[in-house]
């Protein structure tokens, strides 16, 4: 019993760490944009000051769970990685903290926006769909069921 409790205590911090966003620097962007070996990689760009972002992440996560082999989904916060605690808390509250998560680590976030997609003005939520054939498609705003259906 005591051992089980100890195990639980040890596991708790690990569970909490699952959503700790990993720093995304300008030099990390090419790897993030590299086409996946198969299927699609979806970057779900979101921010703390965005009333539509959490529901968009939830919809994307539901889709990813329905197509786990085809879709790799990464939550990318445009807020600074220095705000990790607030970002984690928000992801956790939305029930999407199991997703791999990144956050900007750059003094000029607009520069990373531009590197990720020059045809994106920073509006959130933004979904970038990267396919194995190298093609990319960006969609601004909360995804409608129709648009979600085009991803897998």
């Amino acid at each position: 019993m005591r051992r089980a409790l100890l195990g639980l205590l040890l596991a708790l911090p690990l569970a909490a760490q699952a959503a700790a966003p990993v720093a995304l620097k300008a030099e990390d962007v090419p790897a993030l944009l590299k086409p996946p070996a198969h299927g699609v990689r979806v970057l779900a760009l979101w921010g703390l000051d965005c009333a539509y972002c959490e529901s968009n992440l939830q919809a994307l996560m539901k889709l990813q769970r329905a197509h786990p082999r085809e879709i790799e989904l990464i939550a990318v916060a445009t807020d600074s990685v220095e705000q990790s605690a607030a970002l984690e808390q928000r992801l956790h509250a939305a029930g999407v903290d199991a997703l791999p998560s990144r956050a900007y680590a750059e003094a000029t976030p607009e520069r990373i926006n531009y590197l990720i997609d020059p045809n994106w003005g920073g509006e959130l939520p933004r979904t970038l769909i990267i396919r194995a054939d190298g093609s990319r498609r960006g969609i601004s705003g909360q995804l409608t069921p129709d648009k979600l259906a085009t991803i897998p």
Binding site: A86, A107, T108, S140, G141
Partner: protein, 393 residues
């Protein structure tokens, strides 16, 4: 000695408590370097005034040499409070008819996206400021932020802000409501008090700054991102009559950008002595685009033209006679350029864009300022505040 140590402990405990309080109120704003949201204005004597925020104080600086040197900052709010000072949310400054300094800002509350619009004034040239007041009479812990402030021809202070009371009311009844409302309030006593706010419009964008400009009649007009139908986020125009006359917003841009999202990208407005409403705005239906046009509320703008595309953001506009200036931030993989396009024919055509300043680090939205027919761009950067002349050298 023991007493001194005890006192030290008391002080330390107070400091910790104050810090906790700060974190609680600031909610999502963790330490991450100074926010750059700032506003500037040049008074009739050519003195530049700048407000921004640092360490929970709006701070005021001035310059008598057009920004080459700035005075030491003076706090506007004596008592620390959280302050929004990033992106489209930035402290504002305006002048009264007798040289009063009026300062407004938005104060984050505990929950995400909530805020109070705050106001303070100085009648002695910035040496002392009144204790800040909350402009709106509704004190629910909801969104009242993205304050905009202007002084009309009769010296009245006109405020407008984004307000979610109607969204909250609709949500409580399970009714749909897109975005947020805009409310407006007027002070006729130099900022001692503000009238009970009234609603300008329902269902407007919840995260874009409101542009204000004076009409030739001395009234204040607003140009803002609204929502039409199913999340078509085009712009509307309305005169904010300070005399109680009905407010009549009209759609003024027709790009049909559909987005259920946060553009964080409000427009700019400048009205000529001839009444021409020069406007700049952003949309990204096909690709990121800054537009210029002359508003004709109710129908499409005249002389509409594209100012800039990819990487361009946060444009502002100014007019003096036939001269029209548009300034914006242009980002690429290297960093930022402050860009300018100028028209000498009243906005019918613009010359090519040129970079008038560059920055490697973070920058705030540019703000065009006029003084005696000359245009300057106030540009707050991580490396410091700059007032950039627009004349080609």
């Amino acid at each position: 000695m023991r007493q001194a140590i005890a006192l030290l402990f008391c002080l330390a405990a107070t400091a910790v408590a104050a810090h906790d309080g700060h974190d609680m109120h600031a909610g999502m704003s963790m330490p991450k370097g100074p926010d750059l949201g700032a506003s500037a204005a040049i008074d009739g004597k050519g003195r530049l005034w700048v407000v921004d925020a640092a360490d929970d104080h709006v701070r005021l600086r001035h310059s008598d040499d057009f920004g080459r040197s700035l005075s030491a900052p003076e706090p506007v709010n004596a008592q620390a409070e959280p302050i929004y000072a990033e992106g489209e949310n930035r402290p504002k400054i305006a002048f009264g008819a007798k040289g009063e300094l009026y300062v407004s800002w938005s104060q984050p509350r505990a929950k995400p996206w909530t805020g109070y619009v705050r106001f303070a004034r100085s009648t002695d040239g910035g040496t002392h400021f009144s204790a800040p007041i909350t402009v709106h009479h509704d004190l629910a812990e909801i969104t009242h932020r993205f304050d905009a402030m202007a002084v009309d021809g009769k010296g009245r202070i006109v405020m407008a802000w984004i307000d979610k009371r109607d969204l909250e009311a609709a949500s409580a009844k399970g009714k749909p409501y897109l975005g947020a409302a805009i409310y407006t309030s007027v002070s006729t006593d130099g900022g001692a008090t503000f009238s009970t706010e009234r609603k300008l419009a329902d269902e407007t964008c919840e995260c874009c700054r409101i542009a204000l400009a004076s009409t030739p009649q001395g009234e204040i007009a607003a140009f803002y991102r609204s929502i039409f139908g199913d999340n078509i986020r085009d712009h509307a125009y309305a005169v904010l009559h300070a005399n109680g006359r009905a407010l009549e917003p009209q759609r003024a841009t027709f790009d049909d950008w559909h987005i259920a999202g946060c553009p964080h990208h409000g427009p700019g407005l400048a009205i000529g002595a001839d009444g021409v409403r020069h406007a700049v705005w952003y949309e990204a239906k096909d690709k990121p685009t800054i537009h210029y046009g002359q508003l004709q509320p109710g129908k499409a703008p005249a002389h509409a033209q594209v100012i800039a595309n990819a990487g361009a953001s946060h444009a502002d506009v100014a007019v003096n006679g036939k001269q029209v200036w548009v300034a914006w931030n242009q980002v690429d993989a290297q960093g930022f350029a402050l860009m300018l396009r100028e028209s000498r024919d009243g906005g019918a055509s613009f010359d090519d864009g040129r970079a008038i300043a560059n920055a490697k680090g973070a920058v705030a939205s540019p703000q065009l300022l006029l003084w005696q027919g000359r245009a300057f761009v106030a540009w707050n950067t991580a490396a410091g505040f700059r007032l950039v002349p627009t004349e080609a050298l």
